[in-house]
C-alpha cells in the first residue's frame, strides 16, 4: 500500500533474483520456465484445470471434466462449435445439407479418416454412434437430445442421412456436444480407461488424482496440432494451481478459480490474462412454488433490490457480463435484458409493501463453492437494505446441495451457476427446483423448437424476455472465463462455450 513497503518488497525481490541467478548459473540444472524456446525437443504444454474426470467414459458418467479433456481433442464430432464465433462448423462432415422441411440431414464425410486404433471411419460408424446414444449403452441423461432421431441411413461410405421424427432447431447444435462424438464399434470395450476416437490426440497416461496426458498421433486425417504433448493437471485447490503457474509447474491456468489473485498475474509480464465468456449463468433462484416467492411482486422486489454490478465487482473483480435473463451473450437470441429489473431499492420496497409482506425471512441455501459464498454475502447485505433477511446456509456441494435444494426443493433462495449450454429450457420443466410453472412460457419454447430458423430466434428471445419479466429467478451475471497463460502460448480457447477445452488450435511461439 504505502510506498516504503512497496519499495522494500521490490528490493527483496531483486535480492532474490540475484540469488536465483547465482544458483542456476552454478548448478546447471535446466530451468523449465526460462529455457530457450527454440528447442528441438517435442513441444509440450501443461494446462492446469480444476475438476478431474471421474472416469474417461462420458457415455455413462456425467460431469463436465470428461468432455473438457476429450471432446475435439480425442473424440471428434460431425460438426463442432467454433469457440470464437459460437457457430456450428463442419468437422468430420465435410459438408451437410438440411431438407426444407427440417427433417432430413445429409452429411458428407471426409475420406481417409481413421480411428486411433487404426480402423477406418465411415458412414457405418456414424450410424453406430448415433444409435448407440439411443441404446442402453448410454446412461447419462443428456442422451435424451438424441431421441428425436427416427432413423439413420448409410447411403455410401462417405454419406449418411439422418431422419428426425420432427423438425428441431436444437439437434444439430447438440451434435457438437459429447453426444455427437463418433465411436468405433471396435473401440468401446474399455471407454472408462481407453478412449478411441478420430481426433488428433490420443490418451497417453491418466494418473488419477494428478494429471492426464494427451499425445499427438501420426495418422491424423487433418492438420496436426502444433503442440505434440499436452498435460492436463488437476488442482482441487486454487492456490496450488496459482503456485504451479508461478513456479513453472504449468504453463496455463485453464480457468482461473480465484479472481482475487488476478492482480498478481496481471502485474507479472511473464503472463497474459485472457478474458472470454462462458455459458455459466449465475442464477439466484427463488422457490416459485412456495411463499414468499410464489408472489411475482416479491420476486421482482428481490431483483430491484440487487446491485448486480457491485456483486460482479466483488465476486469476479469486475470481469464477466450482466445479462438479465437465462441467455449468455454468445447465443444467437441474446438481448440485453438488464433494464427489465434495474437496481432500484425504492421500487423494491414499494413492491414488497404492495405484496403486503414485511420482515421477510428467507432460507438462502447455497453450495460451498467459492463464487457462491462470496456473492451470497453481497446479496444478503443488499437484501437487508430493503428489509429482507436472508439466512445464509452453506451446503456441501455436490452432495448436500443436490439433496436439499435440487431434490427436495427445501429452500427459499439459492445461488448456483448453470453451466450447461442453451439451458433456458430448464425453466419449462415444472419439476425443476425453480418451481416455475408457466404454460405460456412452455408453449413458446415448444413452438420455437419446430419453427424455422428466423422465427426460432425470435421466439427464444420472447421466452427469455418473459422469464425476466416474470422474475422466475434473478440472473446475476454470466461467469467470465479467465485464462492465465505464459506469453508464448497462443490460440487457447478463450471462450468456454463448447464442452471442450479445445487444444487443436494452440501454438507455442
Amino acid at each position: 500500500m504505502s510506498l516504503p513497503s512497496r519499495r522494500r518488497r521490490a528490493l527483496a525481490a531483486g535480492a532474490l533474483a540475484v540469488v536465483l541467478a547465482g544458483c542456476s548459473a552454478g548448478s546447471g540444472t535446466s530451468e523449465p520456465s526460462s529455457g530457450d524456446p527454440a528447442e528441438a525437443a517435442p513441444s509440450t504444454l501443461a494446462v492446469g484445470l480444476a475438476a478431474e474426470p471421474a472416469s474417461l467414459d462420458f457415455t455413462t458418467t456425467d460431469g463436465a471434466a470428461i468432455p473438457e479433456a476429450l471432446l475435439y481433442n480425442v473424440y471428434e464430432t460431425l460438426v463442432k462449435l467454433d469457440s470464437e464465433s459460437g457457430e456450428v462448423v463442419p468437422l468430420l462432415a465435410e459438408d451437410y445439407e438440411v431438407s426444407d422441411d427440417g427433417l432430413t440431414y445429409t452429411f458428407t464425410l471426409h475420406e481417409d479418416v481413421t480411428f486411433s486404433n487404426g480402423d477406418e471411419f465411415t458412414a457405418d460408424d456414424v450410424k453406430y454412434s448415433i444409435e448407440r446414444v439411443q441404446s442402453e449403452a448410454w446412461t447419462v441423461s443428456l442422451k435424451e437430445a438424441m431421441s428425436i432421431v427416427g432413423s439413420v441411413e448409410v447411403s455410401s461410405p462417405t454419406e449418411v442421412v439422418v431422419n428426425l421424427s420432427e423438425p428441431s432447431n436444437d439437434w444439430l447444435y447438440r451434435m457438437t456436444t459429447r453426444i455427437g462424438a463418433m465411436f468405433s464399434e471396435t473401440g468401446v470395450d474399455d471407454l472408462a480407461n481407453t478412449p478411441v476416437g478420430t481426433g488428433p490426440y490420443v490418451l497417453d497416461t491418466f494418473t488419477r488424482g494428478d494429471s492426464l496426458t494427451l499425445a499427438t498421433r501420426d495418422d491424423y486425417w487433418g492438420e496436426a496440432p502444433d503442440v505434440e504433448e499436452v498435460t492436463l493437471r488437476y488442482f482441487e485447490d486454487a492456490t496450488a494451481m496459482n503456485n504451479a503457474l508461478l513456479s513453472g509447474g504449468i504453463d496455463v491456468i485453464g480457468t482461473l478459480q480465484s479472481p482475487e489473485s488476478l492482480e498478481r498475474f496481471a502485474d507479472d509480464d511473464r503472463f497474459e490474462v485472457l478474458e472470454g465468456t462462458t455459458n455459466g449463468e449465475l442464477v439466484l433462484s427463488m422457490n416459485n412454488a412456495r411463499p414468499p416467492f410464489d408472489d411475482v411482486r416479491v420476486r421482482q422486489a428481490v431483483r430491484h433490490a440487487l446491485d448486480r454490478q457491485a456483486i460482479l465487482d466483488t465476486t469476479y473483480a469486475g470481469y464477466g457480463e450482466l445479462i438479465g435473463s437465462m441467455v449468455p451473450p454468445t447465443d444467437p437470441w441474446y438481448e440485453d435484458l438488464t433494464d427489465v429489473a434495474p437496481y432500484d431499492p425504492a421500487q423494491a420496497q414499494a413492491l414488497l409493501a404492495e405484496a403486503g409482506v414485511s420482515d421477510l425471512n428467507v432460507a438462502f441455501r447455497i453450495p460451498n463453492l467459492p463464487y457462491a459464498v462470496t456473492a451470497s454475502q453481497v446479496v444478503k447485505s443488499q437484501l437487508a437494505e430493503v428489509g429482507i433477511n436472508a439466512e445464509i446456509e452453506v451446503l456441501e456441494f455436490p452432495a448436500r446441495w443436490l439433496d436439499v435444494v435440487f431434490q427436495q426443493n427445501d429452500y427459499d433462495m439459492s445461488l448456483i451457476a448453470h453451466v450447461e449450454p442453451r439451458d433456458m429450457t430448464i425453466f419449462a420443466d415444472p419439476d425443476y427446483y425453480f418451481g416455475y410453472v408457466d404454460p405460456e412460457f412452455q408453449s413458446t419454447l415448444e413452438q420455437a423448437g419446430t419453427a424455422d430458423s428466423e422465427q426460432y430466434v425470435e421466439l427464444m428471445r420472447q421466452a427469455a424476455r418473459q422469464l425476466s419479466e416474470d422474475a422466475a429467478a434473478d440472473w446475476l451475471f454470466v461467469l467470465p472465463n479467465l485464462i492465465v497463460a505464459e506469453q508464448d502460448v497462443q490460440g487457447l480457447p478463450v471462450n468456454r462455450v463448447s464442452e471442450s477445452f479445445d487444444l487443436t488450435g494452440v501454438t507455442r511461439a
Binding site: 446412461t139 482441487e236 492456490t239 504451479a244 431434490q407
Partner: protein
Amino acid sequence: MLVQVLRRLAVFVLSLVAASVLVFAFMAVLPGDPAQIALGVSATPESVAATRAAFGTDRPLVVQYAGWVSGLPVGDFGSSYVSRTAIGPQILDRVQVTLWLVLCATALALVLALPLGVLAAARHRSASGAVVSGVSQLGIAVPSFLAGILLVTVFAVRLGVLPSGGWVPPAQNPGEFVRHLVLPVVALGVVQAAVLTRYVRSAVLDVLREDYVRTARAKGLGPLRALARHGFRNAAIPVVTVLALQVATLLIGAVVVERVFVIPGLGSLLLDGTANRDLLLVQGVVMVLVVAVLLVNLLVDLLYTVIDPRLRAG
C-alpha cells in the same frame, strides 16, 4: 510370551471388525445419494432408480454390509460408484505414494527429534537447551498445511528451486521423485519432529532424575554416558508410544498435505471420494487407514516387550 502375542492378535482382529461396522454405519448415514450425484443435475428419477439398483444401494443395509465386508480379506473393495473401476488397485496405487510420504516424514522426525530432544534434556539448564525447547514449541503451533503453503511460497514460487507440487514415481525418474518429495516431507516431518522433540526431552529428563542414573553419575560417568548406558531403554518406552500415535497423526496430516502439494495419495483419494459420495471408495480408504493405525499399535505393543524385558513375563 506366546499367549501375550495371541491375545494382542485377537484384540487386533476384534478391533478390525468393530471398525468395519463403524465405518460402514458412518457412510450409511452420510446425506447425499451416490446415484443422484453420479448422474448429475439433469438426471430423471427413473435413471436415478436404475443406477441405485446397479450400485446395489437399494438393498437393505445389512446385506450391503455383508457383501462389502466379505470381500475385504481378499482385497476386494468393490467397484467405485463414480469411475466404475475396481477400488482395490486404486487404493494400492495411492498407498504406495502415501507410504513414501509417511515413512520419510517419520524418518525425518526421528533424525531431528532424537538428538535434539536428548540435547534439550541434557542441557535443560543451559541456553542451547532452552533454544531447542522454544523452537520445538513454535513447531508444534504450526500446522502442516500452513508449513506446506509457506514452503511452497518460499522455495517454489520465490526461489524456484523446487517444484510447487505434483508427484513423480521413483521408478520413472528418481531425481525428480526426490525433488518432488522434499517439500511435503519437510512440511509433515518437521512439525512431527517438533512434537517428538518435546516428548524425547521430557522422557530423558525423567530418566535423568532416576536413582540409577544418579548412581551411574556417582560412579563417575558423564551425563550422556550415563544416559547411553542406563537411560535410553527406559526413556524409549514413552517415546515409542508417542511415535505410534504420531504415525496415525501423520496419516491424517498426509490427507491435508497431499491436497496442498497436489499429490495423488490416499488423502486426495479420500477427499475426492467424499465429495463425489463415492461411498464404497471412501469406506475402502478409511478401512485401509484404520488397518494401518491398528497395525502400528500392534507393532508397538510387541516392541515394548523387546525394549523392556520386564514386560515379557506374565
